[in-house]
Amino acid sequence: MSSQDNSEENPPQQQDDADGGVLATRDNPFANPGLPPHEHRVQDIDERAAKRSERVVAGLFTLSMLSTIGFIASYVAFPVDKIVYVFPIGHVSALNLSLGLTLGLALFCIGAGAIHWARTLMTDVEVPEERHDIEATPEVREELLAGFQDGVRESDLGRRKLVRNTLIGAMAMVPLTGLVLLRDLGPMPGTMLRHTKWAKGKMLINENTHEPLRPEDIAVGSLTFAMPEGLSEEDHDFNNQIAKAALMIVRLQPENIKDKRELDWSHEGIVAFSKICTHVGCPISLYEQQTHHVLCPCHQSTFDLTDGGRVIFGPAGHALPQLRITVNDKGYLEAMGDFAEPVGPAYWERG
């Protein structure tokens, strides 16, 4: 038998009424038999059990009170910097632990008590309540629509087109004021993202020692971080500048450098690349000495520093920009200009 027949017996449109009234009939073993009789709980028939429930609930509420007192006591007793060792959590703040546990217990016991009360002592007789459609009756609907039309007619909106059209115009335009006000949220980008603090003749300053770097400071197999001369951590815009200017320097064997331009822009095998990942801008921090690959810890983009900073793995879309360097007459490493292309994540105007 197909369900087609079934649905014809019981077309959806009539289901609502059918469901509402049907009780068990002999003809239809699937009919709704109606609410089953209420099954009594122990507490409903045995007053001793009910008393026990009452004691449990009261006990929980009392425990909550004690816990609150414990909370206040902990607040007063433990200094804010006291660290204790608690197995198995480890070294933790005594104050945080005691406040949290006493507060947790004080709240939990109120909850557990209330729920136990509701479950064992309050009625558990399930009762039905009729549902009513929330939509209005046709009469109410008619009445409302008529009223609405009266209102519209009395406003004269339909007849006086000029009022209507200018109103629409005014309402459409007034939000522009808000939009205009947003203009000063920030500057126009201009070419800001193309330039960094690097310029011809700026020395490479070691980020750790704050000293200018000499070629001999760059050891084989280590990653050195540098910033441009003249930038100081005290500067108001230090973070903005370092977000673009951060540099990493490694020493390679010149014969290992596969990219011709990279070799030209290096100094005795020392190459300087932007430290800012070209994916979404995390600083690159991991360096693999054998392969001269650097890895961004955020999404694992990997760049080959012997091959023009090419991406060899990961979600980054283009090579790391290289900074052209040389040595000045005092023997310090210096930049021969700014980066030739924007550093960091790509953007629409980058090109």
Binding site: N6, A118, L185
Partner: protein, 542 residues
């Protein structure tokens, strides 16, 4: 001389007098009369919405406390507080005040941790609550609006979480903000402008903490509060759905009254949730901002991870190949932009499913009885596929962690995730649907042949059979109460009057969808009374 009413008034207890006072000014009695004894059905899955509500309240309470101490400023200072490892380090006032809350304000750390844990639980419970509404079809008419409101709450919850996470201006959150900014930059045409306007200039600038702060504590929670209230009013208005069963119909609601039972249970449950979260915050550290230090754009820590609910976006961005198209002096950063678009699209997919379903069925009836997930295999399959997509990307978001913990190749994991993103949802869809159909078949068996009793009987001629106990009428009704849709058919190309009409494309699509949902392979026809009678009477002849 005192009048009769005066004496009554004097005798009335104080509480009642206050209520009378309020009623004659606000009309609260009529409002309360309609709702005080309202019937609420009971089922564990109906508590999930309550968990959302309670964690939301906890977040607001603890959040207000935090605003008393947090200083949303990116002005720089040198730390001289009690936390030794940070002394002498330059940092923003936002970060320093977060350290103060953690180390100087008594109980400040606890409230911070409750706030963060409650936020994680809030978003988590919204997901689970949404899935329960989804799998049971509770979103059907008349509750579609409430589905949409709920969905908006989920989306706003994600953004509130993201902005809140960024406020302490520590190294971890700053890395997350950088990620956000890099993603914004990838938007074609306007990305650079959006970034400049959001950050007040170049990244990081000095504005974002203050701006995120007002978004996080005022704008988004304000909207959410309004939506939550509307959401709950609608639950009252529609009355809660309930499961089919004896005595329960599409036109009634069976349960216990709001006052006192539901109030006792629900009110108690609030304290339970609060208590558990407080205890978690006591023993489990969350977001230890002091561990790695203040944000600097040129520093990073390994293993940076967003809060779990954004792990999906993290995964998408990790597994996406780095496509970039340079042409005509512009760059289309597909490698970042595509994940940025997929994220809302995936969220949207589940949000619009109810509307696609109701279009395919053309059903305009009210539905107050919940569906058992097995009885709607396509819907259930879709829901599971959706969850699978989410989880796959969540796992991909931790590809470095999997690689280091299990000594796997990160390349391998990435490729696995890429393939899984396309394959696993399909597989899980098919498998789920099969399971649902299997369960439907089993229900049908049970209805027609009874429940396996586990008792083996030997028939006179030596055959062994298992005795099947017939189901009670309660059970019979419960297992057959659902209605089954018939798939739509295309109208004949020539109608009764002999006029040819071509079905439109949307009609064709609708028929296809309807077949996919309710066609032959997509549901098992439920047993009919005739089938049942035939079988039971033939049993009698044995």
């Amino acid at each position: 001389m005192s009048t009769a009413t005066d004496t009554r008034r004097k005798k009335a207890p104080a509480g009642e007098r206050v209520a009378d006072w309020a009623d004659s000014r606000l009309g609260i009695y009529s409002l309360a009369k309609a709702n005080m004894r309202k019937i609420f059905p009971d089922h564990w899955s109906f508590m999930l919405g309550e968990v959302c509500l309670y964690s939301f309240i906890i977040i607001i309470l603890t959040g207000v406390y935090l605003t008393m101490f947090f200083n949303p400023s990116m002005g720089e200072i040198v730390y001289d507080g009690p936390y030794v490892p940070m002394q002498g380090i330059r940092m923003s006032e936002a970060y320093a005040s977060t350290l103060d809350i953690s180390f100087e304000v008594r109980g400040g750390l606890l409230i911070r941790q409750i706030h963060h844990w409650a936020a994680l639980i809030f978003v988590g419970s919204m997901f689970v609550h949404m899935m329960r509404v989804f799998f049971t079809g509770a979103y059907r008419k008349p509750r579609e609006m409430n589905w949409v409101f709920g969905f908006l709450l989920l989306v706003l919850g994600l953004f509130t979480g993201l902005t809140g996470y960024s406020l302490p201006d520590d190294l971890l959150s700053g890395t997350g903000v950088r990620f956000t900014q890099g993603a914004i930059l990838s938007v074609p045409l306007v990305g650079t402008y959006l970034s400049m306007f959001l950050f007040g200039g170049e990244f990081p600038g000095h504005d974002f903490v203050g701006r995120f702060y007002s978004i996080h504590i005022l704008l988004l929670p304000g909207i959410m509060l309004g939506l939550v209230v509307a959401h709950l009013i609608m639950v009252f208005l529609h009355k809660h759905t309930h499961w089919a069963g004896p005595g329960k119909t599409n036109t009634n609601v069976v349960g216990t009254p709001f006052l006192p039972v539901y109030m006792g249970k629900a009110g108690g449950f609030f304290f339970l949730v609060f208590g558990v979260i407080a205890a978690i915050a006591a023993v489990a550290t969350i977001n230890p901002v002091w561990a790695i230090g203040p944000y600097r754009p040129d520093q990073v820590s390994t293993g940076a991870q967003p809060d779990w609910y954004l792990g999906f976006a993290e995964g998408l961005i990790r597994v996406m190949p780095g496509w970039e198209i340079d042409a005509w002096g512009h760059t289309l950063v597909l490698g970042v932009f595509i994940p940025l678009v997929i994220f809302p699209l995936v969220l949207l997919a589940i949000a619009v499913y109810p509307f696609i379903e109701s279009w395919a069925t053309g059903d305009t009836r009210n539905h107050h009885l919940l569906d058992r997930p097995r009885n709607t295999p396509t819907r259930t399959g879709f829901g599971v596929a959706w969850i699978t997509t989410y989880l796959t990307m969540l796992i991909a978001g931790g590809n470095d962690l999997w690689a280091t913990h299990f000594h796997l190749s990160i390349n391998g994991i990435t490729w696995f995730s890429r393939i899984a993103f396309f394959v696993l949802p399909v597989v899980s869809f098919i498998v789920t649907k099969r399971i649902c159909l299997g369960l439907q078949r089993r229900d049908k068996e049970k209805v027609l042949h009874g429940r396996e009793s586990g008792i083996i009987k030997r028939l006179p001629h030596g055959e062994f059979i298992e005795v099947h106990e017939p189901l009670s009428q309660d059970q019979l009704h419960t297992l057959t109460a659902h209605d089954q849709y018939q798939p739509l058919e295309l109208e004949p190309e020539v109608d009764e009057n002999g006029v040819a009409r071509k079905p439109t494309r949307s009609e064709k699509l609708r028929v296809k969808l309807s077949k996919g949902l309710y066609g032959e392979d997509n549901q098992i026809a439920k047993p009919t009374v005739e089938e049942y009678k035939e079988i039971t009477s033939s049993h009698g002849h044995h």
